[in-house]
């Protein structure tokens, strides 16, 4: 990979990041993670309180890249066909026509995914894993870019169906936005006095650029020593006390891809240990199941991963 290619990929990501930052003030680290997932081809689960800008973030990403965007608000009565599409009888032609559902898009925002019934959730998650759906014997492939941003609210429990552990594994990254500083919030208020800045956002990269970016991520080099480090970190979750279910090899795969994307974002064509450490907790934590007793004593998956990373000697 030549320096120009790295430069251009890095540029692409930075351009998108800059664009989103016009709307999302003070969320650069969340934007960075979103871009890492977007570039590595994994899906994202945002867990945060209402009103922190989850939807805006997703919309801003879609608008910046000139791709199709759709949004599904998940409710308990949402059915799989509401997402995937449905065949409708056409009286003129005396035949069934398949009406594509909102899932046939490039960037899909699944809002409050844990409100839908498990049946609907798994329809979406299957589509995410396969990048295609099969309805009534016909297989429909998605576009090359299919990126799901799912959100869920961590405080509500009534009328929700928490995602099963197996399905959490489908998301490459899980992170939250968090509240911004008071100064940034004031800036946000000022910027929205007249009109929402998202209306001013225009696409800054083409679909072609995004596909190039995704191809280039795969070309980022990683040494065997660091692969071993990734495996050690992921493996440690399987033996650490306080974790009931450790992370799967799929976590290792996702971590490698994410680390490659981080490296590219930093303008490098090879991975260094920092890249792995930066993203590891967001890739691994949501795939583990914390022991109820440990959770009761205030331990979170993130804190355990922090401990794990501080325990394993890093290659230097």
């Amino acid at each position: 990979m030549t320096d120009e290619i790295i430069q251009s990929s890095s540029e692409t990501m930075k351009k998108i990041a800059g664009n989103i930052e016009q709307v999302m003030k003070g969320q650069s680290s969340a934007i960075r993670k979103l871009l890492v997932a977007f570039a590595s081809g994994g899906h994202v689960l945002l867990e945060d309180f209402p009103g922190t800008g989850k939807t805006t973030l997703a919309k801003a990403l879609a608008l910046s890249t000139n791709v199709k965007f759709s949004r599904i608000q998940f409710t308990p009565d949402l059915l799989p066909s509401d997402i995937l599409g449905v065949s409708v009888f056409d009286q003129h032609n005396q035949s069934f026509h398949f009406h594509k559902g909102p899932i046939f898009t490039n960037i899909l925002l699944s809002d409050e995914i844990n409100r839908a019934s498990p049946r609907t959730q798994s329809a979406l998650l299957e589509a995410m894993a396969e990048n295609q759906v099969t309805i009534e014997g016909n297989t429909y492939r998605f576009d090359d870019i299919f990126f799901v941003i799912a959100t869920q609210n961590p405080v509500e429990f009534r009328g929700t169906y928490p995602l099963p552990e197996a399905q959490m594994d489908r998301f490459a990254l899980k992170f939250s936005l968090g509240y911004v500083t008071p100064e940034e919030e004031v800036a946000m208020l000022s910027s929205q006095e007249i009109r929402h800045p998202i209306e001013d956002i225009s696409a800054c990269v083409s679909v072609e650029d995004v596909l190039d970016l995704r191809r280039n991520v795969k070309k980022v080099r990683i040494s065997d020593e660091l692969k071993r480090y990734i495996v050690d970190v992921v493996g440690a979750t399987r033996t650490t006390p306080g974790i009931q279910l450790g992370a799967s090899p799929r976590a290792s795969l996702a971590l490698i891809k994410a680390a490659q994307a981080v490296a590219l974002l930093d303008g490098r064509d090879f991975v260094i240990p920092e890249h792995i450490q930066e993203i590891a907790a967001h890739v691994i934590a949501h795939r583990t199941v914390i022991d109820p007793q440990a959770r009761f004593s205030g331990v979170t998956a993130e804190s355990i991963l922090d401990d794990i990373i501080k325990k394993i000697p890093v290659p230097a």
Binding site: R221, S223, F270, I272, P273, A316
Partner: protein, 659 residues
């Protein structure tokens, strides 16, 4: 093992040497350090480990029970300390299990002795794996110190082992020389300090002894009686002595004396006119000739507990030879009191005695004295009984009959109306326990002109069908008078024989406590007897099958062979490019300056953290960037870049070195 090589072995040797278990120490060291040579490992399940823990518990609890049974209360603390000396031996199985287990750690949840039901039900409790090597090291040191061998070698060994343990964790910011100097100086200060503390203690003790008020004299000099005390006398059923006589020996009841006294005052008898003289043992060290006379034929065997290895022996009248008594120190008073010291907790001695040749100090002036304020009462009694006109033999008979006929035995004293309890006893109440009778008899005999003394001891009166010996309980403690008649001291027991019945107790509980007492005695006997070799012999017969079963079960278990020799190249085969990077020289230089990197900390994070403390942060970052590529880019560095890295590192080191 997480400990440095040979470290635990050295600890075991040190402990074995200090605590006097050298061969156990050697064996332990070989077993523990052998694990580095032997690749054999067991995949021990929690159940197996639990069994090992139980074994250790068993050894520890067994040790405590053993100590409790054998030591008695007085030297229990000493015995516990000697148990502490052996503690590493009891825990050794657990450490061996850890060393030879595949995990190399022990789940400390298993060490819990008591597991609550709730916890037991939660089987999937996460294991809390802990490496017990260092705790074991600490226990070994504690044990070694319990041996209390006061040589400088202990301190030296202790210091060396501690330094060894700390070496692995020494701060890398300082050179080993500085660290060594620090350790040596701390060790030296500690050495000087503990000697100083010892000296200080000596000085304080001397001072304290000088200032001390003279304490109570030992029992052999004084016997405080319960005379005049109102209420019931509480007597315990505890078995103190076991007495075996041969066929010609005396039949119960007979008396065993432990002390004699000559002066009475204020409810207390004193031994004033007697001097204790040391007795020298015979050639074998366990035979004692008290009076330098030919050994009499009559023989009696007595078993007694010695509290703290010392005490007063209970002896029959006329005892002159004592055999099989392994004590260091024996003293004899003119009143026939024999004190011993430095002996075992249980003694089993044989006494040769001749009742007619009572070898006591001849009569003295004090043997005829009685308190002046009692003389009216005593004179009246002497006159009433016409004692002055009778021969000594008749006097004794008369007095005995007088007390038997006119007094009755009671451990309950209702009240004392007269000023002196003995006068009250003689004149008014006419009821009391043996101390009243004995004291009154002594005083009456003295008033009648017969030299008399007061003796304490035991009346042997109970034969135990269980043990097939006479047993003497605490409640059989007795007091009587000694009278000097025809050139010999004779027992004059005027207590009415009804007291034997009064002391009988048919409580069912006594049978149980007696059985327990007998078992304790038997076990103690095994331990303290000369037949120690027999005990060891039995022990081996018990231990051998257990060991065989244990080894056999271990053999059946799933075994894992550690292929260390093959594993090592595998670890090396993991490609670690760029390990010759010049950056490592910079890292050690920075570490030397106290800016060390955490093991988990990536280089960039570290450099960003510390670069403000360095002279040329930009150069450093440039070096790190090249180093990163050299280490982590599979394509590596080009030749020019490699040279650049070398050059930059050299420049940086030179720059920094000059500062």
């Amino acid at each position: 093992m997480s400990t440095p090589p040979l470290f635990l072995g050295a600890t075991m040797l040190f402990w074995g040497w200090q605590a006097g278990f050298l061969w156990f120490g050697v064996a332990g060291a070989v077993i523990l350090e052998g694990s580095r040579l032997i690749g054999l490992r067991w995949d021990l399940s929690p159940t197996d480990l639990k069994r090992v823990v139980y074994l250790c518990d068993l050894l520890l609890i067994g040790g405590i029970v053993y100590v409790f049974l054998t030591a008695g209360r007085a030297n229990f603390v000493d015995a516990m300390i000697s148990l502490l000396r052996a503690t590493p031996l009891a825990i050794l199985p657990l450490i061996v299990a850890q060393t030879y287990s595949a995990v190399n750690k022990i789940d400390i949840n298993l060490l819990r002795l008591v597991v609550s039901k709730k916890r037991a039900q939660k089987k999937d409790q996460p294991p809390r794996l802990v490496d017990l090597s260092f705790p074991y090291f600490a226990i070994c040191l504690l044990s070694a110190s319990a041996a209390n061998i006061r040589t400088p070698w202990f301190y030296a060994g202790f210091a060396v082992l501690l330094a060894w343990a700390l070496r692995a964790h020494r701060p890398k910011a300082f050179s080993p020389v500085v660290w060594m100097l620090l350790i040596v100086s701390v060790g030296g200060l500690g050495f000087v300090g503990h000697i100083g503390l010892n000296k200080l203690q000596g000085v304080v003790e001397e001072f304290a002894v000088a200032a001390q008020v003279p304490g109570e004299a030992p029992d052999a000099y004084k016997s405080k009686t319960a005379i005049g005390r109102i209420g019931s006398l509480k007597l315990s059923e505890k078995i103190l002595l076991r007495v075996m006589t041969d066929k010609e020996g005396p039949r119960a009841p007979f008396l065993l004396q432990d002390a004699g006294y000559d002066m009475y005052g204020a409810s207390t008898w004193f031994a004033r006119g007697s001097v204790f003289k040391p007795v020298k043992p015979g050639q074998n060290g366990t035979t004692w000739d008290l009076h330098n006379v030919p050994a009499p034929k009559k023989i009696m065997s007595i078993s007694a507990y010695l509290k703290g290895g010392k005490g007063i022996l209970a002896l029959p009248r006329g005892a002159s030879h004592i055999e099989n008594l392994p004590v260091r120190d024996m003293k004899l008073s003119g009143f026939g009191t024999v004190t011993v010291g430095d002996g075992p907790a249980l003694v089993n001695y044989m006494v040769r005695f001749d009742t007619n040749a009572a070898q006591l100090a001849p009569q003295q002036e004090a043997d005829l004295k009685f308190p002046r304020d009692m003389s009216p009462v005593l004179s009246k009694l002497v006159d009433d009984l016409q004692l002055k006109t009778r021969s000594p033999h008749e006097v004794i008979q008369t007095v005995t009959r007088y007390f038997n006929d006119n007094f009755h035995y009671s451990t309950y004293t209702k009240s004392v109306e007269m000023k002196d309890p003995i006068q009250d006893f003689l004149v008014r109440s006419r009821s009391g326990h043996c101390e009243y009778f004995a004291t009154a008899t002594v005083l009456v005999l003295r008033a009648a002109g017969i030299p008399a003394r007061y003796a304490t001891g035991y009346a042997v009166q109970e034969y135990s069908p269980l043990e097939k010996t006479y047993i003497v309980r605490s409640k059989h403690a007795h007091a009587w008078a000694l009278a000097f008649v025809d050139g010999a001291w004779r027992d004059v027991d005027t207590t009415p024989s009804s007291w034997y019945d009064a002391e009988k107790n048919d409580s069912g509980l006594t049978a149980v406590t007696d059985l327990w007492s007998w078992l304790v005695f038997k076990v103690s006997g095994l331990i303290w007897s000369d037949q120690k070799s027999m005990f060891a012999y039995y022990l081996i017969w018990i231990a051998v099958p257990i060991v065989i079963i244990f080894v056999w079960r271990l053999y059946l278990k799933k075994r894992v062979f550690l292929r260390k020799t093959k594993q090592k190249p595998k670890a090396v085969s993991l490609p670690q490019m760029g390990k010759d990077s010049e950056f490592y020289a910079i890292e050690s230089e920075l570490t030397r300056r106290g800016l060390s990197r955490q093991t988990w900390e990536p280089v960039n994070v570290w450099i960003n953290r510390i670069c403000f403390d360095t002279a040329t942060p930009d150069l450093l970052k440039q070096i790190v960037s090249l180093h990163d590529r050299y280490r982590f880019d599979p394509d590596g560095l080009s030749r020019e870049e490699r040279e650049a890295l070398k050059e930059a590192a050299r420049t940086w080191l030179a720059d920094t070195g000059n500062r």
